[in-house]
Each structure stands twice: as structure tokens, then as C-alpha cells.
């Protein structure tokens, strides 16, 4: 067993864990944060995406011991004080989810994208989310959801400038 201390969604957790325990299982089974889902065995689907020191990573492909001393944000850590973050609101507004299973990973990856690039194009969104698989939406509305969030965040950041928000429900641009 190994002793680890991990900061998860702002709270420190110290636990004795088997070295082989995957971070995803630690979050789900030990901390009961079940919003992080597991969709494959081979690091392909991204359902388990969390932020590790700010970077989106697949928590099924990290051992919990590797997270010792690191800061993890899961989907449960996106909303603050019960208030949905723009990315969560965007997924709802633009119907960016159906079964909801890929959604936490998708939103976490999108959160990291907007952190790095507050105004991403459709191409940039599609590229950034290409490590996360969705089987329901065909990605169209996920792209719209991220655009919705980007615009909402820009408006929040510059409230003095009431930007006229383009309706994000426009047909996806054809290439």
C-alpha cells in the first residue's frame, strides 16, 4: 500500500492505496465522485478525463499514486456554489449531450481548451476534443456548446461591452 495526498476539487484527501489502483477508480470508488466515467480499457475514449494540474488527462491511464501531490479537478468540481459553469450551461443550452456518459470528460476537456484559447474556432474545438468519443450527438451540438460557453465567458469577462451574441444554433459551417 502507498500513502497519497491528492487535492480533488479543492479538498485534500489522504489515503492508503494499492499502487495498481487507477486514478479513475480512486476518484469513483474511494471518493465516490462517480461523474468520472470509464468507457474503454485502452486510453481511447476520454470518458474518464479529469484535469491534472490544469491539463486534461485520462484518469483511467494514471495510477492514483501518480497523482500524489497533484491537483485534480473532476466534473463535480466544475460548478461553483451550485452555479453551473458556462461550459455546463452551454451543453444544456445547445443540446450537447444525450445519454450523458461522455459528457463529463467532454466538458472537462473543453474547459481546458477555453482556458488556453478563449475564442476557439470550430476546427480548434474539434481538434481539442478529438481524444473524447461521443456516440450520441455526432459532435455537432458539442461544438455549438463550446462556442456558447466561449461567448458567455467573454461576455462575463467584459460586461461593460454588451456583445451581440451570435445565435449559436446556426448551422455548422460547411467546409
Amino acid at each position: 500500500m502507498a500513502r497519497i495526498t491528492v487535492t480533488v476539487n479543492g479538498a485534500d484527501h489522504t489515503d492508503e492505496v494499492e499502487p495498481r489502483l487507477l486514478l479513475a477508480h480512486y476518484l469513483r470508488d474511494k471518493l465516490r465522485l462517480t461523474g468520472t466515467h470509464i468507457g474503454c480499457d485502452t486510453t481511447n475514449c476520454g470518458a474518464c478525463t479529469v484535469l491534472c494540474d490544469g491539463l486534461p488527462v485520462k484518469s483511467c491511464t494514471m495510477f492514483a499514486v501518480q497523482a500524489d501531490g497533484r491537483e485534480i479537478i473532476t466534473v463535480e468540481g466544475l460548478a461553483t456554489g451550485g452555479q453551473l459553469q458556462p461550459i455546463q450551461q452551454g451543453f444544456k443550452e445547445e443540446h450537447g449531450l444525450q445519454c450523458g456518459f461522455c459528457t463529463p470528460g467532454m466538458m472537462v476537456a473543453a474547459t481546458a481548451l477555453l482556458e488556453r484559447n478563449p475564442d476557439p474556432s470550430e476546427e480548434e474545438i474539434r481538434w481539442a476534443l478529438s481524444g473524447n468519443v461521443c456516440r450520441c450527438t455526432g459532435y455537432v451540438n458539442i461544438v455549438k456548446a463550446v462556442r456558447w460557453a466561449a461567448q458567455a465567458m467573454q461576455e462575463q469577462a467584459a460586461p461593460e461591452e454588451p456583445a451581440t451574441r451570435q445565435p449559436a444554433t446556426e448551422q455548422a459551417a460547411t467546409r
Binding site: 481511447n44 491511464t61 500524489d68 476537456a109 478529438s130
Partner: protein
């Protein structure tokens, strides 16, 4: 899904890593990004008794440029290379390859050095490093050795590294100022291994080709240098004719398996096409440099 049990070592000094490897030999595996090793452990294709994690070893996470070239530590992630302005300016073959490695999330964890040490014949970095004539720095309790990448790979998932050794750095020689390169990869989707990959690197010497580096992914037991093609190019006047000749020579160097991705003939055809296109693009970049 659920890896077998193992002992975990996470030393804070490289010396302790080396001691562990000396003690456990091939019962141990080195963990850096873990993007290949952990999935294999989950599928129980790999069940090492000891895992030695480099994660806490200081000094391995830097990309440094010296007058001789680049030094890339064993903990430098693909994503860092993808974002590097330096690579875009002076090492375009690396800049072209980085975004094509796996997927964006894997690139946040996986490392270049780890990818070389894993020696998947369908790995992308191997070809890039071959084209650039890079070297791997290996350490063990016995000391350090510097291994040319062209002597590094010995077969599928196998290298000249000893079980007691760990690759700590890759050194990439600095290309001449008038050079260009690119990496072309045929993949079936994002995150797929290459069906075929071609790393091309050209250095211009006056209006002729100086050194040319050309290496191929997923067409043999390991990443291979298209040596005959490099010879065709060296000293030649760059242009479609010599590129076509090099493409034919490169296709001869390819010995790909026929599988669900395509027949051997098909893969050789992609090699041919990508070598031509890769060299043309490399030339453009070199001439613009």
C-alpha cells in the same frame, strides 16, 4: 481494466532509479507518461513486478536548445513539443509530428523519450528521430552511454537498452539554417497508430541537397531509415525527378505487413506518395528558411 499488482518505486533522485533498475533488472519497468505501458498492464499483456516511476526525478522535464541542438528530457510531454515555437521555427519535422501523436489528452501525458524506448514499429517519433539523426542518452549504475537512434531499434518493441538502463534524454543535432522537414501520417482516425508514416528532412547546401533524412513508420519491424533514398538525395539537385526516384527507393525499403489497414502494396504506394509530398514540402520550407 484492472492491472495486476506490482511494487511501486517513485524515487526523487535519478541515482535511486538506477539502483532500483540494477536491483530488479527485467522484473522492473520504467514508468514515464505510461500511455503505452498502463494500457498494456490493464489488459494484462504486461505485468511487471516493479514499476519505477520517473515522475519525481528532477531535471528530466526540460527542452533545451544548445549550439549543438536540442536536448529533450525523459519527462517532456508530446503536448509541450506540440506547443513549441522553437520546434516550429527550427525543427519543423518535429513540429509536424507532435500534433499527430495519439490524441490531445494522451499528448498531455505521453513522452517522446518513452515513445522511443517503447519502440512500437508504428510509433511516430522513432521515424522523426531517425530522419534527424538524433541520439538517445541512456543511464545506468554503470554510467552513461550515448546511442545514435540509427543503432537504437532492434525489432518490434525492442531496443539496445539494457534492463538496467533508462533513457533519460534525446539529443537532436541542430539542422543547418537552410533546412526543412515534415512528417506525413496516414491514420484512420485521430488516436490511431500510423498505417504509414514518413519523416522527411532536407538540408540545402547552396542549391543542392546537403544531408537528407528519410525514415518510415509502420512498414517494418521497427522504424526504418530509407537509406538508399537518402543516398539518392544527397548531393542531388532538388526537384520532382529526384524526389520520385527517392520515393521509389523508399518504397523498396518498406516491408510492411498486409492487414486490415491495407495490403503491403498499398502501404508501399502510400510511402511513395508521402515521400514525394514530404520532400516537396521540406524543400519549400528549406527554401523559405
Amino acid at each position: 481494466m484492472f492491472p495486476a499488482a506490482f511494487d511501486y518505486r517513485s524515487p526523487a533522485a535519478l541515482e535511486d532509479v538506477l539502483d532500483s533498475l540494477a536491483a530488479y533488472g527485467d522484473e522492473a519497468k520504467v514508468l514515464a507518461g505510461g500511455m503505452s505501458l498502463i494500457p498494456m498492464m490493464k489488459l494484462r499483456f504486461a505485468s511487471p513486478e516493479v514499476l519505477v516511476d520517473l515522475g519525481r526525478v528532477p531535471g528530466l522535464d526540460a527542452v533545451q536548445e544548445t549550439p549543438d541542438g536540442l536536448r529533450i528530457g525523459a519527462l517532456v510531454r508530446h503536448a509541450e513539443l506540440e506547443a513549441s515555437e522553437l520546434l516550429r521555427q527550427r525543427y519543423p519535422v518535429m513540429a509536424a509530428a507532435a500534433p499527430l501523436i495519439a490524441d490531445p489528452l494522451v499528448r498531455n501525458r505521453g513522452t517522446l523519450v518513452g515513445s522511443l524506448a517503447h519502440a512500437d514499429p508504428a510509433g511516430d517519433w522513432g521515424s522523426v528521430m531517425l530522419a534527424l539523426n538524433a541520439e538517445v542518452v541512456a543511464r545506468s549504475t554503470a554510467g552513461q552511454r550515448v546511442i545514435p537512434v540509427r543503432e537504437f531499434f532492434t525489432g518490434p518493441f525492442s531496443t539496445v537498452l539494457q534492463p538496467t538502463e533508462v533513457a533519460v534524454e534525446v539529443r537532436v543535432p541542430r539542422p543547418s539554417s537552410r533546412s526543412g522537414g515534415t512528417y506525413l501520417k496516414l491514420e484512420r482516425k485521430v488516436g490511431d497508430f500510423a498505417t504509414v508514416g514518413v519523416a522527411a528532412h532536407l538540408e540545402l547546401d547552396n542549391e543542392r541537397i546537403g544531408r537528407a533524412g528519410l525514415a518510415l513508420t509502420a512498414v517494418g519491424g521497427h522504424n526504418v531509415v530509407a537509406a538508399e533514398a537518402e543516398e539518392v538525395l544527397a548531393g542531388a539537385e532538388p526537384g520532382p525527378e529526384v524526389f520520385a526516384e527517392a520515393a521509389e527507393a523508399a518504397a523498396r525499403a518498406a516491408d510492411p505487413p498486409s492487414d486490415v489497414r491495407g495490403s503491403a502494396d498499398y502501404k508501399r504506394q502510400v510511402v511513395r506518395t508521402y515521400v514525394r509530398r514530404g520532400l516537396a514540402r521540406s524543400l519549400e520550407l528549406a527554401q523559405a528558411a
